[in-house]
Symmetry: C2
DNA sequence: GTTTTCATGTAACCCGTTACATGATTCA
DNA sequence: TGAATCATGTAACGGGTTACATGAAAAC
């Protein structure tokens, strides 16, 4: 496994960059707002936060006094712990943001990266998007090949399953195409017909250059869809 | 985790029902033809086979003599081991096939079930399909709700991610609708316009009653798409 | 003749979850 | 006052992969 926890670290850093938070809230954001990743349990989150603190990327602050600002010397007080990004943490996150290597093409990793595109530089966004697309295209190639080989042995349902699977991937490729086009259009700052100025709130400073979709009905929970098997195969031998 | 290995067992039994095979080949089929599941490694597969043998569902047979039919008493011979389904195994598989409970609505589980629809009774197929659909609709509901809550705080990219995710789920629901319709149409045996007699090979004895798609370009690798987080949350506190 | 692919196995390890423990705050 | 939610933590367990060991058959 390619360090799923790396995704957690990344996302935590990214969320905390926006504002300090305590663990519980962090987890909620991870599962809902960013709905992207299949949820992490506290058993993963809290230790992870500890690590980040140990690395000097976060500091723990006593939470904004639960109950009220208690002056009493309640030593064993189990207060909310608010985590805040340190300058080093910010720097580290920026470094993570800037890399657009093969890892960032992977399903869950990609989703996490995309979620923070608002804070990512345009060129990096492009590379990530294009990388993701090429990754999916490879996948499609494999699917087509494998299908060509086995096609006639398969029954209708199996075939239909494959067909639907492939269609999903193709659909994501088209989605990426749109995004890439928008990014490109947005690059020369003037607003092209396909990329009118942002109508939705833009957290980042960037212009709104996403493709238009029928505006009601945005969505809410899934990554571009775990699609192909990460294939632990590639064979054990050698 | 809801016993991912249960899926393996099911798929192994299902594949072996069609014909005896050895482990290596089994694994290939699991990753390509059925391309569905994110691949299992040998470290998982072989022990699993052992278990199935121990349960009396499979028997190991010396493979069709590697090299040539060797009569010599090579005791330490590392031959291919071909696994064959026992009558009990077949019975067990049929039992698994017949259950259409909530488990079978889940992402990977569903994909596995669908892959063996050719050997599944129509009523069961219907229940599985409908269950899956309701599961996805729940998911959509949650997504919509969570989105409604957080919408304005989100930036364009996050929103776009959510939108795309939701759209994927909606798309799968439509797919299921088509399938369900076809099943229903197929039930009264005469061939409706939407369900002409099978043109593709049908392994099962059933009539070809799948929805028609532009026929070239079936697909090849992915489950209906890991969509929503299984949500280990539901909160730890009871 | 050597590399690839086929083929079977196992033990160590890693990651993440489950289950539990604890306690404060808010709501009915 | 008791239930639900907020909130933090940890130890044990489990499932699955990685890496390794081994060797035959086929391809080059």
């Amino acid at each position: 496994m390619s360090r799923r926890s790396g995704i957690l670290e990344f996302a935590v850093l990214g969320l905390l960059r926006e504002s300090p938070m305590h663990g519980y809230e962090l987890r909620k954001r991870l599962n809902t707002s960013l709905g992207i990743f299949r949820a992490f349990s506290y058993g993963t989150l809290y230790p992870c936060l500890k690590t980040l603190v140990a690395n000097g990327w976060l500091i723990e602050e006593p939470g904004s006094a639960p109950e009220d600002a208690r002056a009493a010397s309640l030593a064993g007080r189990r207060a909310k712990i608010v985590y805040r990004l340190t300058p080093e943490g910010k720097e580290h996150f920026e470094e993570l943001l800037s890399n657009s290597g093969p890892d960032s093409w992977e399903d869950e990793h990609f989703a996490a990266r995309f979620a923070f595109f608002g804070q990512t530089e345009r060129e990096v966004r492009m590379r990530v998007l294009e990388g993701r697309r090429s990754r999916l295209e490879e996948r499609l190639e494999k699917m087509r090949a494998s299908l060509a080989r086995t096609r006639e042995r398969l029954d209708d349902y199996t075939l239909e399953l494959q067909r639907h699977g492939m269609e999903s991937v193709e659909r994501e490729v088209r989605w990426l195409n749109e995004l890439i086009e928008s990014e490109r259009a947005g690059r020369d700052q003037r607003q092209s017909p396909s990329a009118p100025p942002a109508t939705r709130k833009s957290t980042s400073g960037e212009a709104g250059n996403l493709p238009r979709h029928r505006d009601a009905e945005p969505s809410g929970g899934t990554p571009p869809g775990r699609t192909g098997p990460p294939d632990p195969s590639a064979d054990t031998a050698k």
